[in-house]
Amino acid sequence: MYAYDQFDHAMVASRNAEFRDQVERRLKGELTEDEFKPLRLMNGLYLQLHAYMLRAAIPYGTLSADQMRRLAHIARRYDKGYGHFTTRQNVQFNWPKLSDTPDILDELAEVEMHAIQTSGNCIRNVTTDQFAGATADEVADPRPYAELLRQWSTFHPEFSFLPRKFKIAITGASADRAAVKWHDIGLVLKQNDAGEVGFEVSVGGGMGRTPVIGKVIRDFLPEKDLLSYMEAILRVYNENGRRDNKYKARIKILVEAMGADEYARQTEAEWDRIKDAPIDVPEEEAARIKAFFAPPPLEVLEETNASVDEFASKNFLFASWLNNNTNKHKVPGYVNVTISLKPHGGIAGDATAEQMELVAALADAYSQSEIRVSHEQNLILPHVPVKDLATIWADLDEAGLGTANVGLITDMIVCPGLDYCALANARSIPIGQAISNRFDDMKRIQDIGPLKIKMSGCINACGHHHAGHIGILGVDRKGEESYQILLGGSGAEDASKGTILGPGFDEHGIVDAVEKVVAVYLGEREEGEEFLGTYRRIGAQPFKEALYGTH
């Protein structure tokens, strides 16, 4: 993992001192709320429905065990004993007091964390593949580049007041687990014919009320040129993005209006002028950062373990967990374990302080003290020896963290919705709970197979409903909560936009609707065909008929 040096520490410490001063001035009345609001937002502090909400960044979803323990401590001391992991690999605390937030930020800084640029019209936390550096299907580890981007984007002199927020995602694997095509900038690591590492660059992806899949503007950008190319893309956006209407201010609207070819042309023209300026880092700096992400020294182990197999043969839930919640590691004898934060009937993405501490302890014991957070709101223990899986599962299961549903219908993305969020129009969490209760049968959901439900409580789409195989969008229909259903979205390498099937349902109707959709799939699927494949083959019509009749 990256470790701060004196420069990084100084940066965060200065920021925290500044924020402490601003909070004091606000509490004394020297700053008005209008003046203070943009300042607190730049430090991730929102005012939500019930209280303030602090969003701390988990850069590229990587946490150490010590950092996780600190999050647990913050949850317990300053909040109500829990935190919420988000689709942007951040963590949110729902109940902090304004007067406590400077202390919370200092507590975070002690473990090299911050809340800088987790809000505002700036470059947000860079997200990536939760299995980065630990997966068999990877060209290169994306995290060093994500760290470079983190540093470069922090307090950028020119790009801190963009037309709108700006999100960058990067992946190094052929399977896209970071939804890169749905980001303002998506970067995919690749090798050219000469064996050099670089990026395919796409721009203009985004969700919200106008879902757009990003377009590739450069097939291969040499890795050494990453930052100057980003500067060129951002300058074109900062100068030309719309500022008259916040719903048309994202880069996706500009790219659509200009055309991706013209956006590429302007970017390349600007890049030509600046690529020799000292924007990109020296080679020694790239090497310094990469060294922090060197693969852990793992001794090759047996691929299988007799006692683990034996336990799996006797315990159906453990066998299911092995099947669904572990992913192949690049070193034989190891796996990456996904800890589901979607217990059936529970709140997606929430973890209690005790659960966080257990995960930290397991990370110390079994995963090189490393933890990852996925955009699908789960936690990951990377580099875990196969031989230890039975012990780990037993510990997780006892703490309510053993659900074997990763990648299945109950492993839903669910935004906080109207239970917490000031922007929401409808609740999301209770719908998620009702669906997972309805499908609370491991045999049944494994028979249904891979199926991603993604749910948002408003058009802003924090719950990625456009990218769900089944998407659910909560809307306000004349003062009542109503839920629309979308089918056919994907956030993976085959990215696609879901299509709204028809009129919305009430909170009970939507659960029945999901069940009917699943029934159509089960009736129509061909041997070995997953939900998305069936939908793409047969189209929306059979699903519409099942939900709305033939008219």
Binding site: L27, L98, I347, R427, I429, G479
Partner: protein, 107 residues
Amino acid sequence: MAKKIKGPQMLIANRLDDGRVVFFTRTGGWSSNTDDAAYGEDEVLESLLERAQVFVANNTVIDLQAIGAVIDGDKAFPSHIKHAMQAKGPSVRADLGYQTSLDWEQA
């Protein structure tokens, strides 16, 4: 406050210090309990707003809004689902609703 609301209204705000949702009360203070909330329309509402503004000016509360209210007996409750949620706390964590967390409030 841009939208014209018909009928009785009550005043909602967040406390500056802890962000907690509070309602302007009949005795001219703030309470998280809607049972204490003042309500009214027209001139009565105007006068409530005027008194409540003082607390915005002296940095006790922020985000002051007049919101639609349903009156039951002599008690007001927010009519819109969003503000009802603010009055009750998250529907999914009954253990954290305002009425059940007075200890936290006083901490």
